[in-house]
Symmetry: C2
Subunit: 225 residues, 2 copies
Amino acid sequence: MPQQKKPQNPSVKDKKGTKTSKSLIKRLPVYLRILDNLIRRDVDIISSRVLSDETGFTAEQIRKDLATFGAFGTRGTGYNTSYLREKLLKITGLDKQIRIVVVGSGHLGKALTRYNILKNPYVEIAGIFDANPAELNTEILGIKVQAMEDMPRLIEEQSIKVAMITVPAEVAQAVVDLLVENGISAILNFAPTKLRAPAGVHIHNADLTIELQSLIYYSLEREKE
Amino acid sequence: MPQQKKPQNPSVKDKKGTKTSKSLIKRLPVYLRILDNLIRRDVDIISSRVLSDETGFTAEQIRKDLATFGAFGTRGTGYNTSYLREKLLKITGLDKQIRIVVVGSGHLGKALTRYNILKNPYVEIAGIFDANPAELNTEILGIKVQAMEDMPRLIEEQSIKVAMITVPAEVAQAVVDLLVENGISAILNFAPTKLRAPAGVHIHNADLTIELQSLIYYSLEREKE
DNA sequence: CAGTCTGTGTTAAAATATTAACAAGTTTGT
DNA sequence: ACAAACTTGTTAATATTTTAACACAGACTG
Ligand SMILES: NC(=O)c1ccc[n+]([C@@H]2O[C@H](COP(=O)([O-])OP(=O)(O)OC[C@H]3O[C@@H](n4cnc5c(N)ncnc54)[C@H](O)[C@@H]3O)[C@@H](O)[C@H]2O)c1
Ligand SMILES: NC(=O)c1ccc[n+]([C@@H]2O[C@H](COP(=O)([O-])OP(=O)(O)OC[C@H]3O[C@@H](n4cnc5c(N)ncnc54)[C@H](O)[C@@H]3O)[C@@H](O)[C@H]2O)c1
């Protein structure tokens, strides 16, 4: 089967036409988090050096990352925390409240829902769904678990685009298909399985087992030396 | 402060002296998972092409990854699933049962403990600890939550090296210090904060918020096009 | 207000990681 | 036994990502 030429890495471009890498995009929320902390502590100005201490990334990398999107700092001084935060919010899209749904109200789904309600000001849990009748109407911080049948209407009415799925691996693909069918275009998947979706639908995998197992590799490595 | 020359990326070397990248190491558990599935379905031989379908990585990359550690396949045929699994277990260090402790028996800590007991045959949860007296002696699938005071003894007696921490960000550093002091050398951190540890102690961060927020970036990106 | 100091932004170099190409084994069929 | 069909493992080429170097801009000093 002669595979057709693969389209180049679908990374997006910034204003200047240079590519923004995936790794860069994953650092942006870290910067944002640190800025939130600094602002809470009434810090007005921050240098890339200090940001480096707080984040663990090198100062060079931080400057380069930020410069990708514009000149947000003042030479000789540093970055204004509030101003930089504004800019990063715009860039990441977190300036407008994002509504998401959670599918699977098991242990992980409940933990994530609770956590995001309490601690993540940038997203709003619009609904949580489960196929198990026993879960229905149980509450997580005031949000009732709903039946899968009610999901399409909620997604449609609130034009929700983002979902987290915390269902068993065996049913994850079916849930993805259902979500996509109803207009979801970005999915954070916690099930340990490869999922397929049409082009244009973004699937990120949060594979906690991989994190643990690769850590173990490094932990043993050390002993040999 | 003239920073001393940074030691080169602490990536380890394989038998042939070529470097094994971090990204490669994170793909190994995926291969392992697929092999476990295949073996359960009595599949004896698998080609890189099919592995590619199952994992989402390209066949070229899979061959290259595996070839890093040796020649495990048979030309013209493919890889023997059981043999390859054995090899990967050895390489990742998952051939011997790994005992780990969990610190923080909150929602996430409980979910992870339960999950690993039920679904992760490669690790054994040796203990779970919490500072909140109300949590003490509550059970998770038969494992009792213990007081922090009991942690050092357990770690010592079972020579445990790996820990997962699911405590609030504010106390995470203190917990890391305590763990390291007692001999832990690899930590999987779920708290959204940068942690410090002496050289030789591996810290991996599983930052679920970053995953969600970077996904949102991509989900909005799409709309513009 | 010239001169110095500090820290950004930009450009260049180095290091990593992925993709592609193909030579070298294996099996299968005749 | 030989050719055709496959599939690995290795080497070379690309692409991406990180690191480094430094010119430049604002702030501060005397
Ligand atoms: N809990 C963890 O720490 C952890 C760690 C790593 C991976 N995961 C993965 O995350 C997922 C969820 O884990 P969990 O521990 O919460 O499991 P869980 O069994 O506690 O929860 C799964 C939930 O999904 C619901 N469900 C089942 N089929 C469904 C369907 N077709 N549609 C909608 N809902 C359905 C179930 O009713 C249940 O409430 C699993 O895929 C698991 O492998 C969990
Ligand atoms: N729950 C999630 O989905 C989620 C998502 C992203 C990040 N996190 C992070 O994971 C961590 C845990 O989250 P959670 O939702 O389970 O919180 P939680 O509040 O449910 O649990 C935290 C637990 O840590 C214990 N604790 C507090 N101080 C301690 C100490 N000094 N020593 C030992 N134990 C201590 C508490 O008693 C509690 O049981 C937090 O850092 C949170 O930011 C959680």
